[in-house]
């Protein structure tokens, strides 16, 4: 039974998504409770799966009896299981948050809206587990197609953002597929473990180098790595308020995980192409993303846009940790990924509540709500501490281990980039708080209603998680060091 857990985890949201339009044909208000129930079940199963993987080792799930390398294989190792717990919890919170904020214009199509959300969650589960390059492509595209639709679902400006996202995302997917077909033409296999066996001797073949380059660019577009990030801030800003907190923490981070898998599990950590170490490349791209993303965030006035650029810079910081090629850096990078996903979710909940409850879209409007929104202000303070990286929060420990890893490998440029990006993050949050706490003379006496319980729940849980991840950072890092490290690190 326990070796079926990965398949159960994937099928739960998938079946719910497919049966949703039929089950909720007459009773469209059932769609929210059903989604919440399914995702809550998924949280339990994912925790069970993590427990199982930690105690009994990784699960290699083989579909319909065709063993790898001939059949499709799923790998539920420590890294995948940890990320999956995060994914299902954030998916559940996202759906809870969706309840009151879902676009009112949808009417009867609200059922399909929940179908798309569940489809997105199940395809992200597939990306996390995939042990096969082509399988990964299929799930990437299912996730991408559902997110194009979700971004554009509310109409208005979002439609154009969704269209741009679609065009760029499809270029990324095509390049990824092209890279995979290059690798397939050279190695004759698609299974990651099998390619990993064959590729060390082929690393100087032009086809392999070209294929890897295409795969990196393709995934880079999908995860909004700096030169290819242009679709991301627009898509996340104009997406419905209930969708950005699901997409922002999950989509880019899960694609990042796929990149980590290809770098460490398919290629070897120490492999070099034409004498250029791959990890050096990753670290350099991380440095660029960390600094450029944070600088662009500082220039924004729209709150959601600012947070989206903040997310771009944090992807860079994670890549810096991943690219150090030692255990400390890797565990720090993965730990920071967990933190960053929670913080991104919290930031977009805050932005969503600010817009939905208080009608605040830009920084200049923030002064209006100052002292009238204790939940909003409180969680914003906690999450800001985490984003900047001050001690009691998880953000601090993530950055701390990444810097330790960088010092261990003597990469001082990366250390400087993390510090610089931290200072820039501090700068844009100071800008935010400056306008939040400014006493405006024209303070109106508008009374805002009590905020709904689901807002309190999502804001409270994510803010608490930022602190808890910090307080329990030592055991979590130990868990990551014991169970998630790639082979040969």
């Amino acid at each position: 039974m326990s070796h079926q857990l990965p398949a159960i985890l994937f099928l739960l949201p998938l079946f719910a998504a497919i049966s949703m339009p039929v089950v909720c044909l007459k009773h469209r208000h059932w769609s929210l409770p059903i989604s919440v129930a399914i995702l809550a079940a998924m949280v339990l199963v994912s925790i069970l799966n993590l427990y199982n993987v930690i105690h009994h080792g990784e699960v290699r799930y083989v579909f319909s009896g065709w063993t790898a390398p001939f059949g499709i294989e799923w790998v539920a190792d420590g890294l995948a299981s940890v990320i999956l717990v995060l994914l299902s919890i954030l998916g559940l919170l996202g759906v809870v948050f969706t309840g009151p904020t879902s676009p009112k214009t949808l009417g009867g199509r609200i059922v399909h809206y929940y179908t798309l959300i569940l489809l997105l969650v199940s395809s992200l589960t597939g990306i996390v587990f995939a042990g096969d390059l082509f399988n990964l492509f299929v799930f990437l595209e299912v996730a991408a197609i559902s997110s194009y639709a979700l971004v554009g679902v509310a109409g208005g400006r979002a439609l154009f953002a969704a269209f741009r996202y679609l065009i760029l995302g499809t270029i990324g997917a095509s390049l990824y597929l092209l890279g995979v077909s290059y690798l397939y033409a050279v190695t004759g296999t698609l299974n990651m473990a099998d390619i990993a066996d064959k590729i060390p001797l082929l690393l100087n073949s032009k086809a392999v180098v070209g294929g890897l380059l295409f795969i990196f660019i393709g995934l880079g577009i999908k995860m909004a790595l700096v030169p290819f990030h242009t679709w991301m801030p627009e898509a996340y800003t104009y997406a419905p308020d209930s969708i950005s907190p699901i997409m922002a923490p999950l989509l880019t981070k899960v694609v990042l995980l796929a990149l980590v898998r290809i770098i460490y599990w398919v290629l070897n950590a120490s492999s070099a192409i034409y004498d250029i170490p791959i990890l050096l490349l990753v670290a350099v791209l991380g440095v660029l993303a960390a600094v450029i993303g944070a600088s662009l965030a500082l220039a924004q006035r729209n709150i959601k846009m600012m947070f989206a650029y903040g997310g771009i810079s944090h992807i860079g910081i994670i890549l810096i940790g991943i690219g150090q090629g030692n255990q400390t850096g890797f565990a720090g990078g993965v730990f920071y990924l967990l933190n960053d996903a929670v913080m991104q979710a919290a930031l977009f909940y805050i932005a969503g509540v600010a817009l939905f409850q208080y009608g605040v879209r830009t920084i200049d409007d923030l002064g209006r709500i100052g002292k009238k929104a204790p939940w909003l202000t409180g969680s914003l303070v906690v999450v800001a501490l985490g984003m900047i990286g001050l001690p009691p929060t998880g953000g601090f420990f993530g950055k701390w281990y990444i810097i330790l890893g960088a010092l261990e490998s003597g990469d001082y440029v990366s250390v400087a980039a993390v510090v610089l990006s931290t200072l820039l993050t501090l700068a844009y949050f100071v800008k935010l708080f400056e306008s939040l706490f400014r006493q405006s003379s024209t303070e109106s006496d508008v009374q805002f209603g009590e905020i709904p319980i689901s807002f309190k729940l999502t804001l409270g849980v994510t803010s608490a998680a930022v602190i808890i991840l910090g307080l329990f950072s030592a055991p979590i890092i130990q868990l990551l060091l014991n169970h998630t490290l790639p082979p040969g690190l």
Partner: protein, 125 residues
């Protein structure tokens, strides 16, 4: 230089792939009409699918069903079915993406009364 030039013509399938890919990419970048952009996008996808099919092509090979169970298997006489299976999946993915893209185009047209990127951007200001 001449050798490199001749080497390209040794593999007409690669040449065709590159031409279709760049053609699609050019359409995507230069045209302002959103539907034309989608056509370019579809050309890019098709070129990658074409590439996948050609790397699995083999002269004089047949479907991968054993001709005889007694003789030893001659790998040269059977075609590899995997690239074609991948192609089918990639076509389905491409069609789904195109469908979402056209639906977005329709919604954009109803909203802005235009499919021209420049006009829409002007209305967005």
């Amino acid at each position: 230089m001449a050798d490199a030039f001749l080497a390209i013509f040794q593999r007409p399938n690669f040449l065709t792939f590159v031409i279709i890919f760049l053609w699609g990419f050019y359409i995507m970048v230069t045209r302002y009409n959103l539907v034309k952009k989608l056509i370019g996008m579809y050309l890019v996808q098709t070129s990658v699918i074409f590439f996948l099919v050609t790397i699995g092509a083999k002269k004089g090979a047949t479907v991968p069903v054993l001709l005889s169970t007694t003789e030893p298997v001659q790998a040269a006489s059977y075609a590899n079915p995997l690239p074609q299976v991948l192609t089918l999946t990639a076509i389905v993915v491409g069609v789904a993406t195109l469908g979402v893209g056209l639906a977005l185009c329709g919604a954009i047209y109803r909203q802005y009364g235009s499919l021209d990127e420049q006009e829409i951007l002007e209305k967005l200001e």
